[in-house]
């Protein structure tokens, strides 16, 4: 087995080894058991005291969502205005300008919703102040928002019949103080020792071997990059994201970033089993998610390692794989692995250019984001999977001749309606968005805009179509990676993706929490021999089939016109 593949397997192995103990710790934190991190509780109490919050006050699902949405709105307003006026604020050694209104709108939302779709470049578009106090701040709170929402669902699944689902502020604050903050510090330290900058100085000047003088941007990046991955955010300190040598200096940082971004999503799956005391149920979910990942991963690595057939035809050696758009220090296989992981979970950071990956890898990247539930982002991955479980429970319940029930609660029209709405949302946002941009491009190529639609795409044809499809898919999945090659830093894209981001974030959080909350308030039905077990392999396969079929049916024509057409045209 070659070293690159071995590195990938080792990285995944380390992730699992860390995820298991972490999951036990998470459960302790959310149950309120005693843990080593209890030294944080005076600080937490102080926060609650200042804010006038009673963390013991039980909330129902609606109160949870009200709290979540309110605080998110506050953060949005804060972020929007600070970005707008960042040039007038301190910590701006490079003298970067304030953002335009549409860019600030897009950036604020995109970081708020854990997406980090960056329509700017870190070196010039933001200041150290906004990087730290807006973007990194949002990276913490958006991840904690997703996790807190998931804990509400955990609680709802665990209880037999209740409307009291814990306190949102308690879940939220503890996620930050007990989980994100300590882990980020450890990760940041690893980065610093491996050469990632952590300085407040402005640009450095380097004279290259050819004698040119080059300005090198830097800044307090290490801490930012830690939460960027740990919180499945993905927004880079530098424009080139984790392909930038200062954002990802060597293989150790590569592995650390890789482990950091997927460890919480995997640990949350295990935590689900521990929290609701149904380990087998969670294990099956983990198995299905892993199989899903492998299905996407193998074609990606295989295509990248095999190299581009067109280049091979030119007689150029491709022993290293398809190296266009990749960092030599990571290579084809590792970049293939990264591209899969970063798209199935909602990180969206990159260590190589997705625009340059092979068509089939591009297809896998798109599918990863369309599915968005194989591990998935912090908290939200399982929430997305939950919706598919609901649909699978409904159909399979009928198939065994019983009114569908899940975790001891009947699944009825109201829940099905919410689940159907959430399922409907993704194809709606992705397809309508792409249709809108295609329409504008075809019919108004020369519109008198800052960037003419005709010059949006760097690549014509199928690949250009993939670029547009990718942008909306990434926005809807709150992923934030870009296919790039798309002129997206302008009014049309800032605004349209901005709305896709908001809708693609909050409805898929509210939906599952609402379903879980409504179901938990219903009468508990004990299991009988006629009850369909949801912790069986059969049900796991059923859920997998539902996920694959629904996704395939929604996106097949669009994918056929993009990556599939490109693949067969090679």
């Amino acid at each position: 087995m070659n070293t690159a593949i071995a590195g990938v397997i080792a990285t995944y192995g380390i992730t699992l080894l860390l995820a298991w103990p972490l999951s036990r710790y998470f459960v302790k934190v959310f149950r309120g058991d005693k843990t080593w991190s209890d030294f944080m509780s005076p600080i937490e109490r102080l926060f609650f005291k200042i804010a006038g919050i009673n963390p013991k006050e039980e909330m129902n699902w609606k109160e949870h969502m009200k709290a979540l949405l309110t605080i998110n709105l506050v953060w949005f307003i804060y972020a929007f205005f600070v970005l707008l006026f960042q040039d007038k604020l301190p910590l701006n050694p490079d003298g970067n300008p304030g953002q335009s209104a549409d860019l600030a709108f897009n950036t604020a939302i995109s970081f708020l919703v854990n997406c980090n779709l960056q329509h700017y470049s870190g070196e010039t578009g933001v200041t150290y102040f906004t990087q730290l106090f807006v973007l990194a701040f949002l990276q913490f709170v958006s991840a904690a928002t997703g996790i807190a929402a998931l804990v509400v669902v955990f609680k709802a699944l665990k209880e037999k019949s209740t409307t009291q689902l814990g306190n949102f502020w308690d879940y939220f604050l503890k996620t930050i103080t007990r989980i994100l903050l300590p882990l980020s510090i450890v990760i940041a330290l690893i980065f610093i020792f491996n050469g990632m900058p952590a300085s407040y100085e402005g640009k450095d000047t380097v004279v290259t071997m050819q004698g040119d003088t080059v300005n090198v941007s830097r800044g307090p990046a290490a801490g930012f990059v830690a939460i960027k991955h740990l919180g499945t955010n993905g927004g880079g300190w530098f424009g080139a994201n984790s392909a930038h040598p200062l954002e990802n200096p060597n293989y150790v940082t590569w592995m650390t970033e890789m482990v950091a971004q997927v460890v919480i999503p995997i640990a949350m799956v295990f935590a689900l089993g521990l929290f609701i005391q149904r380990r087998k149920f969670a294990n099956i979910i983990f198995a299905i998610m892993t199989i899903g990942m492998i299905c996407l991963l193998i074609p990606s690595i295989q295509n990248e390692v095999a190299g581009n057939p067109l280049i091979s035809k030119m007689g150029i050696d491709q022993a290293a794989g398809a190296m266009e758009g990749k960092e030599v220090r990571f290579g084809a296989a590792a970049t293939g692995y990264w591209s899969t992981v970063t798209t199935i979970i909602s990180t969206g950071s990159v260590c190589g250019w997705h625009d340059s990956t092979m068509p089939l890898t591009g297809l896998m990247e798109l599918l990863g984001m369309m599915l968005n539930c194989f591990y998935g982002g912090c908290g939200v991955g399982i929430l997305n999977y939950y919706i598919f479980i609901i649909i699978a429970v409904f159909i399979s319940g009928l198939m065994v001749g019983r009114t569908p029930e899940f975790m001891g609660h009947k699944l009825e029209a109201r829940e099905v309606k919410i689940a159907a709405l959430v399922t409907l949302l993704s194809p709606f946002l992705i397809l309508v968005g792409t249709a809108l941009s295609s329409y504008v491009l075809v019919n108004y190529p020369d519109a008198n805009w800052a960037v003419k639609p005709s010059s949006w795409l760097n690549n014509p044809g199928y690949h250009g179509f993939s670029e547009m499809l990718y942008e909306y898919t990434s926005s809807n999945a709150n992923n934030g990676s870009g296919f790039e090659g798309l002129g997206d830093g302008n009014f049309f894209w800032n605004i349209t993706t901005g709305f896709v981001l908001i809708l693609g974030r909050y409805l898929p959080i509210i939906g599952p929490v609402a379903i879980a909350g409504i179901m938990a308030s219903k009468k508990y039905i004990p299991e009988s021999a006629g009850t369909l077990r949801t912790d069986s392999v059969t049900f796991g396969v059923m859920t997998f089939a539902v996920i694959i079929i629904l996704t395939a049916l929604s996106y097949f024509p669009a994918l056929a016109l993009g990556p599939i057409a490109e693949y067969f045209s090679l």
């Binding site: 399979s396 065994v400 099905v416 049916l553 067969f568």
Partner: protein, 681 residues
């Protein structure tokens, strides 16, 4: 094709075909959102076809192809309508055959003057009878309407309704007072009060349900409709956004192709069959001779967790039978048997008869009870017997009753017999102590005879996840013995009517659904409380009003069948939904390459079925989509077979047949159709 002949009788098919066109009315179609969108598509295609016909433009494809697509869409809608119509027609026919039994019959009505009824009898038509009217029936009369006997007792032939030829006894007062219109009085004279308004009897309600007039969607059906509607919306999005995508790719797509893609993708198979499945479920219940008051009741039956069953008549054969004679020490066995037989010769109760039977003809033929006087059983004495002309009194009765009787005159109860009494009780039997002139002579063992095959049925129920509970008036010891022997999961001993109610409430509070069967007025509250209450047709009017189903056969084990019918109903919906959605995979592989191959030749690679041409590919998919509906009508009407193999195994099985099968079948079907129509294109 014999089975099909039964499913589709010729006259019903003709009627349903007509009905299929009537149902094209958009006002009716809109109730079914999936098929309604197909109808809209059909109308659009009609316009396109006319446009091509009159302008001769070919930018929308050739005229022939457009006509073909239009016709296939129309046929799709008609097939779906036909499915619903045939299900309705079958239900109606079934109900009609029951209704025939109550065709206009002459009724001997007692005329009423003010509040009082006179004794005058006038013959009127049964159609004019109203609730509260009173009529009389004599031997040979057909009972003109459902009612309750208020005076008299009669033997009645109910074969017209139940198919059971043995006559039944109905009498005023008590639990066997109700009579059903259409049945025949064989003997005696009864006075009956009409209990329902014409058109409101259960049968009439049932007919209305099947005819769709008052058919309401059940909760599961509503949830499924929502899901199907959302799938339809997804495919609307897919098809509408395909237009700008195609414009970007410089690929003109004809309207016919768009509509075909849409119609093929939306779940027309399940959408077209959904209401047929619901109607067929009630129809199947009717065929099992069960009248349901709502479709919901049938569906709920499939969810039942707990089944309350009366011991007598359900688990055991009606009555206890004598199985052994045990004489007290000092009494010869022969003498004891003689006494037992003597005491029972005039006893008409089933127990008494069984004692005579067990005694044997040899002994019985030698006995005579001329001039003897029979002492009937009363609740007070709890014993019965005979006073012989020679002055001897034989009594038989419950242990404590006879003991009291003996001890009152100073006779002690023999210890060996006492031991025997205990022994019998422990084995689930009932001891019947016999005394001669207040002196204990021995004990007769009566045993419940468990119905053959009943424990297999309970086994089947257990595998379905249904817990069976036996309700009996027996003492806990006896009840436990029989419960074990019959294989029920739980029992309620020494049950009073309110105990049933309590048990049902308890189970319901724990979240379980309970079904029960009952016939008496005192069962009515429990029948109403139960999620599925099945009243026997022979039961009182109150019981029938309280329950949500009526079993015409009075068969207490019918609940098992009802549970299966309910499960089948849900399963048929679930499996056909899966099948319908799974079909889409193949349809995509047929249509998507056909749409784009002209401008993107590379996409020929996903034409994995190697279909002849884009036109034939699309047409084949549409044809497949249409003909799958009538092909599945038999399945929708008969229901998917239920096998009690556990939920997970059942899911595996159905997933394999309807899921995997649903993916593969259209690949084969579409390819075959394409090969066929390639001849014409």
């Amino acid at each position: 094709m014999k089975a099909n002949n039964k499913l589709f009788p010729k006259d019903l098919v003709m009627e349903s075909l007509k009905e299929s066109f009537v149902k094209l009315n958009p006002k009716l179609m809109i109730k079914n959102p999936v098929m309604f969108t197909v109808e809209i598509g059909t109308v659009v295609m009609l316009v396109v076809t006319l446009y091509v016909m009159f302008t001769g433009h070919t930018d929308q494809g050739s005229l022939g192809w457009n006509i073909a697509i239009f016709l296939m869409l129309l046929i799709t809608v008609l097939f779906a309508n036909f499915a619903e119509a045939i299900a309705e027609a079958r239900g109606k026919a079934q109900a009609e055959s029951l209704r025939k039994t109550r065709e206009d019959t002459p009724a001997k009505k007692i005329s009423q003057v003010g509040e009082t009824f006179t004794n005058e009898v006038s013959v009127v038509s049964s159609a004019t009878l109203r609730k509260g009217d009173i009529f009389v029936c004599d031997p040979g009369d057909i009972i003109p309407a459902d009612g309750e006997i208020i005076e008299g007792l009669a033997s009645i032939d109910e074969s017209a309704i139940t198919g059971e030829s043995a006559p039944v006894i109905r009498e005023a007062g008590g639990d066997k007072s109700s009579v059903v219109g259409g049945t025949k009085v064989l003997s005696d004279h009864i006075k009956v009060r009409v209990s329902t308004e014409p058109g409101e009897s259960f049968l009439d309600k049932m007919i209305a349900l099947v005819e769709g007039a008052s058919r309401q969607k059940t909760p599961n059906e509503i949830a499924l409709t929502i899901l199907l509607a959302s799938f339809t919306l997804v495919f609307i999005i897919v098809c509408v956004t395909l237009k700008p995508f195609a414009d970007y790719a410089n690929t003109p797509i004809t309207i016919a192709a768009f509509i075909s893609l849409f119609v093929c993708l939306i779940p027309t198979t399940i959408g077209g069959l959904l209401s047929a499945i619901g109607i067929a479920g009630m129809d199947r219940a009717l065929r099992a001779n069960v009248i349901t008051k709502s479709g919901k009741a049938v569906e709920t039956a499939g969810d039942i967790d707990v089944l309350l069953l009366d011991k007598t008549g359900t688990i055991t054969i009606g009555n206890r039978k004598a199985t052994n004679f045990y004489a007290t020490n000092g009494v010869t066995q022969e003498e004891f048997i003689r006494l037992c037989a003597l005491s029972s010769l005039a006893d008409e109760t089933p127990e008494g008869k069984s004692i005579v039977e067990l005694a044997g003809k040899d002994i019985v033929n030698k006995l005579s009870i001329a001039n003897a006087s029979m002492v009937k059983f009363t609740a007070e004495t709890r014993s019965s017997g005979i006073d012989l002309p020679d002055g001897n009194c034989i009594r038989k009765g419950a242990y404590d009753a006879i003991k009291k009787m003996a001890e009152r005159v100073g006779n002690s109860f023999p210890t060996d017999t006492f031991k025997q009494v205990e022994e019998i009780s422990k084995d689930g039997g009932t001891p019947l102590v016999v005394a001669l002139n207040n002196k204990v002579q021995g004990v007769i063992e009566l045993q419940d005879i468990i119905k053959p095959g009943i424990s297999e049925r309970f086994d089947r129920l257990r595998k379905m996840g249904v817990k069976t509970v036996m309700v009996t008036g027996d003492n806990p010891l006896t009840a436990k013995y029989i419960a074990n022997k019959a294989g029920v999961d739980d029992f309620i001993a020494e049950a009073k009517p309110e105990d049933k109610m309590k048990y049902i409430r308890k189970e319901q509070n724990e979240g379980r659904l309970v079904a029960m069967m009952g016939d008496g007025t005192n069962d009515a509250p429990a029948l109403a409380q139960a999620d599925v209450g099945v009243a026997m047709n022979s039961g009182t009017q109150a019981a029938k009003e309280a329950g949500n189903m009526v079993d015409l056969d009075n068969d207490p084990t019918k609940l098992i069948e009802i549970v299966e019918i309910g499960k089948q109903l849900l399963m048929t919906r679930g499996t056909l939904t899966t099948f319908s959605i799974a079909n889409d995979v193949a349809k995509y592989f047929a249509i998507v390459p056909a749409l784009f191959v002209a401008s993107i030749p590379a996409l020929q690679a996903i034409n994995i079925m190697k279909l002849h041409s884009p036109e034939t590919a699309i047409l084949s998919a549409v044809i497949f989509n249409a003909i799958i509906i009538p092909m599945l009508i038999p399945l929708a009407l008969k229901g998917v077979a239920y096998k009690p193999i556990g939920a997970s195994a059942l899911l595996r099985r159905n997933l394999l047949i309807y899921g995997v099968g649903g993916v593969i079948a259209p690949f084969i079907g579409i390819k075959l159709i394409d090969m066929l129509i390639a001849v014409f294109f």
